[in-house]
């Protein structure tokens, strides 16, 4: 968080182009030429899976049945870990299917990078990304101001809602979970709860940039934990980085690139908050950022 210059680290740096840890780039981020390779792939994947949910029910093709809280991919149970934990705490029974579902999710996202759920699958995230664009336009015109919250609120929410499930014996969060509400909307049609999702989006557009995903969403926390273990990460090549910091200006999760780009401490983006969205990979003109597999890369 703090960016005090660390002289020792600076001396260790031999590459001239690297301006050193803690130093903000003197050149303000230049508007790069629009290159949206990974973003387009990501949006295509997101829409594909959500449409698959829709089509599985609507056209009865039965490939991916259910919603994002619980589904079956070709018969394999998949259950959102937070929802599963809530059910276990609320009903005080551990059901086999829940365990199977959570383990399947764990294994899948272990391969694909944990919080990649957020940017690659979650339909609310997609709406929030569009809302963010409006937010940025309004902010540029000085109509609105951005208000930041503490990103740790999500962890308090996580604990709070699990506790609430235990106390009330009801999966309280699942009734207000915008991810589940939108997912149910996609598959089963609209419900009145969409008003709450709309309110949340308007709050994000007018008051705080992508606030739900950035500060509050406890659904992402489970995937964050998986992401800590997942080897699929953004790789940073120190040699070719010109330290322009444009990657940080587009990053969906503030500060995850700090350890690499600012401090030069790590070769991979190790923060669990990284959603592996690829926006930084897209914007980087130096080809310093790419997708990598943490342990495998070294072996090869």
């Amino acid at each position: 968080m703090k960016n005090t210059p660390d002289k020792k680290d600076k001396k260790q740096e031999k590459v001239k182009t690297f301006k050193g840890p803690g130093l903000r780039s003197q050149n303000s981020p230049q508007p790069g030429h629009a290159k949206h390779k990974w973003r387009n792939i990501r949006w295509a994947v997101l829409l594909f899976f959500n449409l698959l949910f829709f089509a599985s029910f609507f056209f009865d093709i039965q490939i991916l049945e259910g919603t994002l809280s619980g589904s079956r991919l070709l018969g394999f149970h998949m259950i959102d870990p937070l929802a599963a934990f809530q059910v276990i705490l609320a009903s005080k029974v551990i059901m086999v299917n829940l365990v199977i579902g959570v383990v399947t999710i764990f294994l899948i996202y272990l391969m694909f990078g944990g919080r990649s759920f957020c940017s690659w699958i979650c339909p609310y995230h997609w709406l929030a990304e569009l809302g963010e664009k409006i937010h940025q336009i309004l902010k540029k015109k000085k109509i609105i101001k951005n208000h930041a919250f503490d990103p740790k609120i999500r962890y308090y929410f996580y604990g709070f809602f699990l506790l609430l499930a235990l106390i009330t014996g009801y999966t309280v969060f699942e009734t207000v979970n915008p991810v589940a509400i939108i997912s149910r909307f996609i598959v089963y049609g609209p419900s009145l709860m969409l008003i709450w999702v709309m309110a949340l989006l308007i709050f994000e557009i007018l008051y705080s940039r992508r606030a739900w995903c950035r500060y509050f969403c406890p659904v992402g926390v489970s995937y964050q934990l998986i992401g800590l273990m997942s080897p699929l990460r953004i790789k940073w090549d120190k040699e070719s980085c010109s330290n322009c910091k444009r990657c940080q200006s587009v990053c969906l999760a503030p500060l995850v690139l700090t350890d690499c780009v600012n401090k030069g401490k790590s070769e991979y983006v190790n923060s669990s908050l990284c959603t592996r969205c690829g926006l930084c990979v897209d914007i980087c003109d130096d080809k310093a950022l790419s997708y990598g597999v943490k342990y495998l890369d070294k072996i090869i």
């Binding site: 960016n3 619980g70 929410f157 149910r184 500060l255």
Partner: protein
């Protein structure tokens, strides 16, 4: 954007202030919305195998997989207007009752066991119990044949597009009940070699071209016209278990004899009778989660707090 934020980390005070505000705000808002709805205390008819209401609400993950596999597609997901349990599955029996299909796919699809997996046969389900809520309109009690009743209603309303489906339904059940002699009359009237579901459309077209008088006259002489309505039993998926028996009773005041549809213990509360009941307001109704013993004790309604 990111830079600006990281340069200006939020002070502890501000964080405490905002986070407490957000948390308390959420709790209060949630309480304010849910408490009045909670107080309604109205039970919904759940799919077969549902655990008792509190456990069901605790364990249902709201994925809707039961709804996806439901062959007659009668399971719906509750919205905010259904009160507590947004996103949980329920059935509106009047719009479509559960047919207790073999294998109970909804139970198999449930990932959390909210629809208990130990249920494998429809006749063992305990969804609720049918109760004759409107004996004043019940055609059995009134001694009226359902086909006669429905045809008369159809004539009163005059034909419109929705009536064609109603006519089709009437004809389908009428054809099933024709005696051999009556089939011969029909064959002559419509000059068709066969009277069955296959020729139904042709019959319907001929009837639409003329008016409905012929068929109404026919029903007047119909062999089963004197037979009172038994739709609830005939449509029941557990027909063989005889969940409804028609008992002859005498009104102690007037001495008038009538038939009373008596619901027996084998009724599981699937709701098909309520769906098919021919009266405009259903005469038979499913009381969700009502148990036979409770009904015997005189209860006709049931609330969540009774366990």
């Amino acid at each position: 954007m990111t830079e600006k934020e990281s340069k200006r980390p939020i002070s502890r005070r501000k964080f405490l202030k905002t986070s407490t505000l957000v948390v308390t705000g959420t709790v209060i808002a949630y309480g304010a919305v849910s408490v009045p709805l909670l107080k309604r205390n109205r039970l919904l008819l759940r799919p077969p195998g549902a655990l008792d209401e509190d456990t069901f609400l605790a364990s249902c993950i709201k994925c809707g997989q039961c709804l996806q596999v439901c062959p007659p597609q009668v399971i719906k997901l509750a919205g905010i207007s259904q009160g507590f349990g947004i996103g949980t599955p329920y059935i509106i029996p009047r719009e479509g009752g559960c047919i207790l299909c073999s294998g109970l796919p909804c139970v198999l699809a449930c990932p959390t066991g909210s629809l208990a997996h130990d249920l494998s046969l429809g006749k063992d389900a305990e969804m609720g119990l049918a109760v004759i809520t409107n004996p004043d309109t019940c055609l059995s009690v009134l001694g009226v044949n359902d086909l006669v009743y429905r045809l008369e209603n159809l004539e009163k309303r005059k034909t419109s597009s929705s009536d064609q489906t109603a006519l089709k339904e009437i004809l389908t059940s009428l054809i099933k009940r024709l005696t051999e002699d009556e089939i011969k009359v029909w064959q002559r009237k419509f000059s068709l070699p066969e009277i069955s579901d296959k020729t139904l459309l042709k019959i319907q077209k001929q009837l639409e071209n003329s008016d409905l008088k012929w068929i109404i006259n026919f029903v007047g002489s119909f062999s089963q016209a004197q037979k009172t309505c038994q739709v609830c039993l005939e449509e029941c998926p557990l027909k063989d278990e005889k969940p409804i028996v028609f008992v002859k009773r005498t009104n102690p005041g007037t001495g008038q004899k009538y038939v009373w549809p008596s619901v027996r213990k084998t009724c599981v509360g699937c709701g098909v009778c309520e769906e098919k009941c021919p009266t405009p307001v259903t005469s038979i109704k499913i009381i969700p989660r009502l148990k036979w013993s409770e009904k015997q004790a005189g209860n006709q309604t049931r609330k969540n707090n009774q366990t």
